[in-house]
Symmetry: C2
Subunit: 455 residues, 2 copies
């Protein structure tokens, strides 16, 4: 059994990665709690009827179904009935809708929650795509006002800042905006979808290619095509500008151009709503990186209003996205429930952090190895206890290895400091900083301060 | 769909319980990391061959099996083949054995790990027993010396102390000890098992009943029966005594009594090993609560040496248990691998904390509600941002509710403090302490200090 491993497309988490994942979960959770969002959890499995409730067709293929247990199975097989009764959740949104229906009476009218947990999809495994992976959702259930969008965006920007991912940009639009704009420009209904799909590739495909595709779609209407392409080119330029007034002036101009169109009234309402959110986000957090981006397309069908996403410099696609989805959460509760949410690309961010080894260092610097130079094991352990009481994360070398091997062991497991001697009476330690193979003797308190400085 | 809920025997986690569970996981993890133990994780599912590898019979009934996906299913059904290929893990030990086999080359020779995660068993659901529940294991893989037992016990005692569960006692014995003692007293081989089972009930059943059962088992050998019962009564007395010398003197006497028996040499070795561990634990941590308890029975077959458990005053059965199990971890790696481990009764401890509402208070005191007395939402949110920058966990009242409702909302969600006014220029706040309906104005720094003092 030498090739024994986890199931196809699933991963084991060795300590360094498990620590990093934990660090990411704790950071995200802490920031959202700062905003009054609290954690919830649901079982990994749900009734098949729940999972397949709405738009089941697409998801059914991805489902890991749970075989019925015991005698019922034989009955079902005999009767040609269903073999499975439960399935593993494929996202955290369906379980949230079910959770809201189950606990209706117990939840506050406006329910702020976050949920970080694994989901499963029987996709074809490929690089960077797993069959078991984490999702991280934050939602306000029951919040109809745009103030909740402002809060979700502000909280999420703080998450990005705390994660030190580098320069990022938040983009805001409204699901309804692009179709209205295209309609205003004279694009026929049946071509709005294809153009939207073309625009959705803008982060991965050069602007010229996208415009060429639009040209092809609108080949029968050259005048419309020219206007739309110009709009796309201008917007693409403008959305890179962080200086605030410029984009507003530009979109005011666009709006004025469309003043005669049949959709103008609707367009103005949606546009004003977006502008209100923009304005509030910037009032709440003057350092916000938000830009207005009317050609932003968020793939999900279920969005019904404002949508947003964030991109990190150096990475092509969005690392998180969200929006208002007023039609989804009430599906099991049997009544409409407004909702705003944001889904953090947990695995994407984790792989960025892994690449940069950033969190890893943070998660491990504090660990030290208390080496064994021949002392009795119980005295060594007793010293380790004292060091732990002082707040150190101490691994004790209990194996009968020579000193070189002990140092080597520390290095391979990411430990930077080895304690060679602990003088309890003087409260001082002789430590080796392994990367530089350098020994020094200092007061325990100073050593602690130094470790914490590095943290 | 008004009765929609989670699958039978599984639970949703509402915020208060989710926070408490998180607090428990973080506390346990932090303490074990203090000892150099690091987290790992594995997929929730494993190959059926792995899960059913050893002693599969018992576990197969409990398995949630995963239906094969796609076309393969039709083939399998047609050919009368297997319908399932994976199953949900029913414990964390089998996955650890598989993990060790998979990553053999990458793990240190002595591998300290902890693993906290859900497992699934298709048991009949009943009060306090769930089909999805958490386990929490700490293990040293590859550690043959009794020093590792000392470390695991010391670390685990620190977990109990940090959890503030109240008075507890650690009991130590050795899997091999009781059978040897009984054999030494002249109990026939075939009656050792039944007596062990009777003794295992000692925490739940009165001593007299246990002795009566032993008498029945040994009815054919009255002299042996008397000696064994006396030994049980004395030991039961002695194991309640925490003053150290008394128990040692008693067991020395027992050992001398058996000096003529055929098992004496073996008995002495095992006894000495236990005494060494006892002695070292007390050297490492003078405040240890450990007692030697040769009538301790740990149910699991796989233990091969020292075993231990902890009981908390006021609760009948052990809340954690562990021991040495040298035969299990190497099963997939194809070679013997010594191991010491401890399994914390995560769900038991969680329900004790829930009963006491202990952790709940800790997890929620820091939260405050910034109430809305008619200010514009964006200014309110901007103030909330300032308060968060200062370190407060602030929920902003964005609903258009009157003040009474806002206070009420805070109380029902466990928030103790409402901020009525935040004077940014003076850096002062007017707050209401909700349990006493009392308002006061104080400097923000003082308010923060007060909140942290409560934490």
């Amino acid at each position: 059994m030498s090739s024994i491993g986890p199931p196809t497309g699933m991963r084991d988490w060795l300590p360094q990665d498990a620590l990093l994942r934990q660090h990411l979960m704790e950071t995200i959770g802490r920031v959202y709690r700062l905003y009054g969002y609290l954690p919830i959890d649901t079982p990994v499995m749900e009734d098949l009827a729940v999972l397949l409730g709405k738009g089941g067709g697409e998801n059914e293929k991805l489902l890991f179904k749970i075989l019925k247990r015991g005698e019922k199975l034989a009955d079902a097989q005999g009767a040609g009935g269903e073999l499975a009764d439960y399935g593993l959740r494929f996202d955290l949104t369906v379980p949230l809708a079910r959770f809201v229906a189950t606990h209706q009476g117990k939840l506050p009218k406006v329910f702020r929650r976050y949920h970080i947990g694994p989901v499963w999809r029987a996709d074809r495994p490929q690089k960077g795509r797993f069959r078991e992976f984490y999702q991280c959702d934050i939602d306000v259930v029951g919040g109809a006002s745009p103030d909740y969008e402002v809060e979700v965006i502000t909280a999420t920007e703080r998450v990005l800042k705390e994660l030190n991912l580098g320069k990022y940009r938040f983009r805001l639009s409204d699901k309804r905006l692009l179709p209205l704009l295209l309609e205003g420009y004279g694009v026929p209904q049946e071509q709005i979808g294809p153009i939207t799909i073309a625009l959705d590739k803008l982060d991965k495909v050069p602007l010229d290619e996208v415009c060429a595709e639009v040209q092809k779609i609108l080949v029968a209407r050259p005048a419309v095509s020219t206007k739309v392409q110009q709009f796309i080119r201008d917007t693409d330029e403008i959305r890179k500008v962080s200086a605030r007034p410029a984009p507003y002036a530009f979109f005011d101009k666009v709006l004025r151009e469309l003043e005669q169109s049949v959709v103008y009234a609707e367009l103005e309402t949606v546009h004003n709503n977006s502008m209100c959110i923009m304005h509030s986000v910037l009032t709440v957090n003057a350092h916000s990186s938000i830009v207005f981006d009317p050609i932003l397309v968020r793939g999900m069908d279920y969005y019904t209003g404002p949508v947003y996403e964030a991109v990190v410099e150096g990475y092509p696609s969005a690392i998180l996205g969200g929006g208002r989805y007023d039609g989804l959460i009430g599906q099991f509760a049997g009544k409409p429930i407004p909702a705003v949410g944001c889904s953090i690309g947990f695995e994407r961010i984790l792989s960025i952090l892994q690449e940069r080894k950033a969190g890893q260092a943070a998660a491990t610097t504090a660990r030290v190895l208390l080496v064994n130079e021949g002392q009795p094991a119980d005295l060594l352990q007793q010293q380790a206890e004292q060091l732990r009481n002082a707040g150190l994360y101490v691994e004790t070398s209990l194996a009968q290895d020579d000193l070189g091997r002990q140092f080597k062991y520390a290095e391979t497991t990411g430990i930077l400091w080895a304690i060679r001697r602990f003088d309890q009476a003087a409260s001082s330690v002789t430590v080796r900083y392994l990367p530089e193979r350098k020994d020094l003797t200092l007061a325990l308190a100073d050593f602690l301060a130094r470790l914490r400085g590095v943290e």
